[in-house]
């Protein structure tokens, strides 16, 4: 057989099998891509909490999100009310005299401390666990303003460090 014939034969064979494999591979890939969900049936983790105007200076507790939102002038931050021991909801107790401490490198005025009624864990106003069985401090979550209607939004899938502050206009 001539070289030309042989290479043409090889080419056709390669084209046939090659394209077949590529196409089948692509179809297999398509099948896998179909298993990546495009819509979520979970409860949304970003929750609109209301316009900033509804959050007074001091502390506001949101029972559905189990979240404390603190406001001081134009600065807000949010601390979870879920005890890090076994998940009970902690209680906020006003301090007899508020103290200012440096938290995450910035000054923070602490007006409350947190107590868990289930097993007696205690946290300071910035969420640090100081007594009882709680293994970790209370989580801080990211706050932002919704792009569309300007409501305060918490992202319960995004914990943040304790230097997080949301400053609004």
């Amino acid at each position: 057989m001539t070289e030309e014939k042989r290479s043409r034969r090889e080419l056709l064979k390669t084209v046939g099998i090659g394209t077949g494999l590529v196409a089948l591979g692509a179809q297999g890939g398509a099948a896998l891509r179909s298993l990546v969900p495009n819509v979520s049936y979970d409860a949304p983790t970003t929750v609109k909490l209301g316009p900033p105007g509804e959050f007074p200076d001091g502390l506001k507790y949101l029972p559905e999100e189990r979240l404390f939102v603190f406001r001081e002038g134009r600065v807000l931050h949010a601390i979870s009310a879920v005890c890090t021991h076994l998940g009970c909801t902690v209680r906020a107790e006003a301090l007899s005299s508020p103290e200012t401490r440096e938290v995450g490198g910035k000054a923070l005025r602490l007006t409350h401390r947190f107590l868990c009624p289930c097993h007696g864990s205690r946290y300071t106003g910035d969420g640090t666990n100081v007594a009882g069985p709680a293994p970790r401090p209370l989580t801080w979550y990211e706050l932002s303003l919704a792009a569309d209607d300007g409501q305060l939004v918490v992202d319960l899938a995004r914990p943040v460090d304790r230097d997080f502050r949301l400053t609004i206009a």
Binding site: L12, V15, G16, A23, Y41, E93, S96, L115, A147, D149
Partner: protein
């Protein structure tokens, strides 16, 4: 090895195989392309442009992309309308063309989208992401979007977007009148005025001369007799025609002709089609009280407890377990003894003064005072003082013969 002698058809077969491979590639490319070809991609890109123009690039880049869905588990509805109708909660697009128009704010205040979805009010096929299939009318989906377009196709004498009130009434069925649902309100007032219940069971009560209309909205369209109806063959059109002239559609009917105007007939037809067997969770039903208001007496008693002489015990939470009867503070749980006589009682039980006991409590109180009710030293002094005041009041009342405080275990 034995020399391989190719079959005579081998060459032709190889060509066919190559062609088959190419067709396979082309079809793979085709289906991948057809998956990307959706109107919503265009609408989302357009909205990004609109937001960037109006509010700046930063806000535009925060827009979500891809199919979006509102999942309402209570109603088991997955609504994907917001894939195209992204402007629903963006103020500033009130006069834009659909799908870029802001949703009217008032109704959303007590019908938030996250709780109701879109289709439970507007109708349409929430599952779909393409306009024709989402809005309808489309085969195999009974309820198209009940909006202006459908209203105009019926040349409604009512405002063209009134058909949506059919869905309002699914929840607001037992309201006498619902603010904002004018067509339904008109229809309900007609039902009362004209006495439809004389012959028909409506919402569970009425007469039996005519058919039971409680769930008539569920009656399948094929079961209506359209032989005397010209024009659109829909259940809605049938009801409008029937209300305007019953004998024209049902030869041997005894239903009188009420000479309804077109507007009244259309309003009534909207009401009739809303009478469906639709499972609505109780928390969605209007009219069912959603709070448990206190009676005036309860309010007064509570105010007295919070502001009266026993207010300190209420504020600290002592009253949860202990009554302080001399001040009228009633404990809900009454686990512990009456604090009015604590001064005496502690001495009798433990052989200690009240000051001493508060400073170093034993038993249950040691748990409570170290975990649940934590008092600073100053507060403890206040506690002792308050207890002594309460005891003094108890002695005063006893000598006056009015105290009922008892030390019981």
């Amino acid at each position: 090895m034995e020399p391989l002698r190719a079959a005579s058809f081998a060459k032709r077969d190889r060509t066919i195989l190559a062609i088959v491979g190419l067709v396979l590639i082309v079809s793979t490319g085709l289906f991948a392309w057809s998956d990307r070809k959706h109107d919503w991609r265009y609408y989302q890109a357009e909205f990004v442009r609109m937001v960037a123009e109006k509010f700046g690039a930063a806000k535009a880049s925060a827009l979500p992309t891809g199919t979006q869905q509102i999942w309402v588990p209570d109603l088991q509805r997955a609504d994907r309308c917001i894939t195209c109708h992204q402007a629903v909660s963006w103020p500033g697009f009130e006069t834009a063309e659909e799908p870029f128009r802001t949703h009217p704010k008032d109704i959303l205040r007590n019908h938030p989208v996250s709780r109701f979805g879109c289709t439970s009010c507007h109708g349409g096929q929430g599952y779909a992401v393409d306009p024709q299939e989402a809005h309808g009318p489309i085969e195999h989906w009974e309820e198209p979007v009940l909006g202006r377009q459908l209203g105009e196709s019926y040349t409604l004498a009512l405002p063209p977007s009134s058909l949506m009130q059919m869905n309002c009434n699914v929840c607001h069925r037992y309201d006498r009148s619902t603010p904002g649902a004018d067509a339904i309100n008109l229809a309900k007032s007609l039902v009362t005025e004209k006495g439809c219940r004389a012959c028909h069971v409506i919402n569970g009560r009425g007469g039996t001369i005519g058919p039971d209309l409680t769930n008539v909205g569920d009656k399948p369209a094929e079961q209506y007799d359209f032989s005397h109806l010209s024009g659109q063959q829909t259940a809605y059109a049938w009801h409008v025609g029937h209300l305007k002239d019953p004998r024209a559609l049902v030869q041997d009917t005894v239903m009188p002709n009420f000479h309804f105007s077109t507007k009244e007939a259309q309003a009534l037809a909207t009401l009739i089609l809303s009478w469906r067997r639709e499972p609505v969770p109780a928390s969605f039903l209007s009219g069912a009280p959603r709070t448990e208001p206190q009676t005036p007496e309860e309010k007064e008693a509570e105010a007295k407890m919070r502001t009266g002489p026993g207010a300190w015990f209420v504020k600290t939470g002592c009253f949860v377990c202990h009554s302080i009867s001399v001040y009228g503070v009633k404990s809900p749980a009454q686990i512990g003894p009456d604090l009015s006589v604590a001064v005496e009682d502690v001495q009798a039980r433990f052989g200690r003064t009240i000051d001493d006991f508060i400073a170093a409590p034993t038993g249950t109180m040691s748990v409570v005072l170290s975990r649940q009710i934590i008092l600073s030293p100053e507060e403890k002094q206040v506690a002792v003082q308050k207890l002594r005041e309460a005891f003094a009041e108890h002695q005063r009342q006893k000598s006056a013969g009015t105290s009922t405080a008892k030390a019981d275990h």
